[in-house]
Amino acid sequence: MFRFIFNRILQSVVVIFIVVTITFFMVRLAPGDPFSSERRIPDYIQQRILEHYGLDRPAVEQYWRYLQGAAPKRFRPDKLFTEDPLLNAFGIDLGPSYTSARTVNQIIAETFPVSFELGAWALLIAILFGVSAGMTASVFRNTALDYVPMSVAMAGICLPTFVMGPILALIFGVWLGWFNVSGWFVPADRVLPAVTLGLVYAAVIARITRGGMLEILSQDFIRTAQAKGVPYGKIIFKHTLRGGLLPVVTYMGPALAGVISGSFVVETIFQIPGLGRQFVQSAFNRDYFLVLGTVSVYAVLITLANLTVDIVQVILNPRLRFED
């Protein structure tokens, strides 16, 4: 198992390196430059700005310098909760941002926890609602308790967050006044964005759970259990759920990636100071280092999520082994 994990981590490092490299050159190939504005800056002033950020140097040299800065150089877990954890704990310097008085390190340190928290709430909602709806539907197959949750789930999948978000904000924020329409200040501010973001995944999870459960329920060992007179609740929760949830676990990898990187829309609608907005805005602004920084964070996160999913799968499913 440790060999498996070690190998997978090695693979992840290679993947992240490739992602950073491709992003580095792609973002520079994109048309438009970071310092253009409606009022045009004379070329000799632009030249000074490029020099300030080292952008006048050859791309390969910039790349090398970036890698030197971005490579982790130490590991000091005790410094994780300082002002600049990336630099203090890992020795990572992701460079300046062209559109902020803060460095990329600072921006990530400030915004990542927010997006992470939002994503965690959203996933929690998705799992709670999705799994219970899917289980209900599979147990009461072909009854109203199946059709209603599954129709709602279908609608949930079809309604994009940029439609769902404003509707929820309008109903619960403007009309009923239960929640703030935007912001990230009080705990109640978490509710609407997390529900908006979580509902889509809840819907998908509900459908996957239902499918997985039905497959297990039709298998022989369940019939055997029923014949032996095992209580129905025990059959569902003990024998069916474990196998029935396997597809959901597989889905958690992509879902986590989606929740975290897809939070841009929700963050914009609800005015949340998260990483998703930085990610998209930096691309619009051609804020090269910030694009690279956010992409790297997502790359690390997604590889970690996939690794975790792989491990959990093997633990849940005895038919799988840790193999390279």
Partner: protein
């Protein structure tokens, strides 16, 4: 028992609410804020910097002008009048080429240091130092030798026309007579910065990404001080205890809320979280006219929406073709049926609002004459007119206007245009490299003088981007920059605008309006052409 239960329940709710509010430090709603003298203002996207010498945007300006004050301040009602700022009085010489400013004794930085003439000299040197790379540095080129110093042709800053005669007397020598100089001085490029603070952070004086502007470090001299900066949430400023005119300042705090999405801003306003919005979604204007007629403001803004030709590409190298397109555009229809915000149809390039500058119709809506011109140019009824592209940056509002205009040209002149939208930075690049046929653009005045609109079209101006040039025009603009009197200055500009509209390298479409919502509690908020708010005059009731 029942009564007790109810009280307990309420107590619990109150306690929970207090806990919830306490742990996040929530923002007050408008009622609470009004009672506390706190203004909640929607301010558009997150500001990039609060360093006045690095900033370039309207968003930044709205915050910086509460934190820093220049020699001349914003007048509460009339943008054309100078209001004493750090300078309590000033004296121009006879031909307005040399100005002496007398700084007030009680002008202090927020750390207690006096604001001196040396601070201004130091600030202007920082701005003009080539390595610093200030984007708005051209504003300072009106000082003698400033451009030479900035271009590196001169290395001794003492030759530049700014000098501290003593602690409280500043003399500025200009390249020539500039009667409108006081208007320019209101621009934030002329604001001072606090030298010891700037020196203390980053790599010092010339670090354009220096973190001196962050919360807890910022030192300014304006009516408010920076209290809190929460990225992508808000910037909170509080009344300054050291500001010279502090007795006049009536607001205790201002929240500048960073709100990216106009629809989110709209919902915040509707739910009582903002006193005043930055803007209004254009789709909502008609609805708001009915539902919030007293709160919706549609006020003239010193700016022009226009189309620019690439005059290096045929057939737009022919002034007759350009005029024909301009004359067949029905601006009334665009304003009344497309933009819907009471904008002023533009029949000249300079927007209305200058007291002594005449408003004229230099381009008429005359499709008949337009057809004749086009026929003269060799395209009778549009026959043989090549298929050209109309470029705009990706935004629904621009598309609507472009569609209307293109259909007008098709109906009146029989010519076809293809719409082409590009992402903002790609669009900017296409414009600056003359890689377009016809392109949408806009311009907002930097200060109150028509020259900020007309200087764009001189041969060597970086914002021209049309390929058009005219010797007489260049000469008139030069003359306008050196005029000793307002009359002479305007006479040159009036003639220049006639030349511009005759050659028509740009088609003015409409003059902008500022469209926003404001609650009745906000007082002292007057329509301003440049949308400059002297916050010290605002109050809530």
């Amino acid at each position: 028992m029942i009564r007790l239960g109810r009280i307990d329940f309420r107590g619990c709710v109150a306690l929970a609410a207090a806990l919830l509010a306490g742990c996040g430090g929530g923002i007050p709603d408008v009622e609470e804020a009004t009672a506390q003298g706190v203004l909640l203002k929607g301010n558009g996207s997150e500001p990039k910097t609060l360093d006045p010498q690095v900033a370039t945007g309207v968003t930044e300006n709205k915050i910086i002008s509460s934190l820093i004050e220049g020699l001349i301040a914003y007048h509460p009602t009339d943008d054309e009048l100078p209001e004493p700022g750090v300078a309590e009085r000033w004296e121009p010489n006879e031909d307005y080429s040399e100005w002496t400013f007398f700084l007030r004794e009680d002008a202090l930085w927020s750390n207690g240091d006096p604001v001196t003439a040396h601070d201004f000299v130091w600030s202007y040197e920082r701005m003009l130092t080539p390595e610093f790379g200030a984007e708005y540095v051209e504003m300072l080129y009106s000082m003698e030798n400033a451009e030479e110093f900035h271009r590196g042709e001169l290395t001794d800053f003492s030759a530049v026309g700014v000098e501290a005669l003593d602690e409280r007397t500043l003399r500025i020598r200009l390249v020539g007579p500039t009667p409108f100089f006081l208007g320019m001085l209101k621009h934030y490029a002329w604001y001072p910065v606090h030298p010891p603070t700037v020196e203390a952070y980053g790599t010092g004086r010339l670090d354009r990404s220096s973190p001196w502007t962050l919360q807890g470090r910022f030192v300014g001299n304006g009516p408010f001080v920076l209290e809190e900066w929460r990225v992508n949430q808000y910037i909170r400023v509080t009344k300054s205890p050291t500001y010279w005119d502090r007795d006049r300042v009536r607001l205790n705090e201002i929240y500048f809320m960073a709100i990216e999405d106009v629809n989110t801003e709209q919902r915040m306003y509707a739910s009582g979280r903002l006193h005043v919005t930055n803007t209004v979604p254009s789709n909502d204007i008609s609805n708001l006219r009915r539902t919030r007629p007293d709160e919706l403001r549609l006020e003239p803004y010193l700016g022009t929406y226009f189309y620019r030709f690439n005059t290096t590409r045929p057939p737009f190298d022919d002034a007759r073709v350009r005029r024909a397109l301009a004359m067949s555009m029905d601006r009334e229809a665009i304003v009344n049926r497309v933009t819907l915000g009471d904008q002023t149809p533009a029949y000249a390039f300079v927007p209305p609002g200058f007291d002594d500058f005449p408003r004229r119709r230099l381009v008429a809506h005359d499709p008949e004459a337009a057809r004749r011109l086009l026929a003269e140019a060799g395209f009778p009824e549009g026959h043989g007119f090549p298929r050209k592209f109309l470029l705009f940056n990706t935004l629904e509002d621009h598309r609507k206007i472009a569609e209307a205009v293109v259909s007008m040209w098709n109906r009146e002149l029989g010519i076809d245009f293809q719409l082409e939208n590009k992402e903002w930075r790609v669009y900017l690049e296409a414009q600056s490299q003359l890689d377009f046929d016809l392109s949408r653009a806009g311009w907002i005045g930097d200060y109150m003088d028509p020259i900020t609109f007309l200087e764009l079209w001189t041969s060597d101006n970086g914002n021209n981007n049309t390929g058009w040039s005219n010797e007489r025009y260049d000469e008139l603009i030069r003359k306008a920059f050196r005029s000793e009197t307002q009359e002479e200055h305007y006479a040159a500009l009036i003639e220049a605008e006639e030349i511009l509209m005759e050659a028509m390298p740009v088609i003015p479409v409409y003059h902008y309006n500022r469209i926003y919502l404001i609650r009745p509690e906000v007082r002292g908020w007057n329509p301003k052409l440049l949308d400059n708010r002297p916050y010290k005059y605002l109050y809530l009731e």
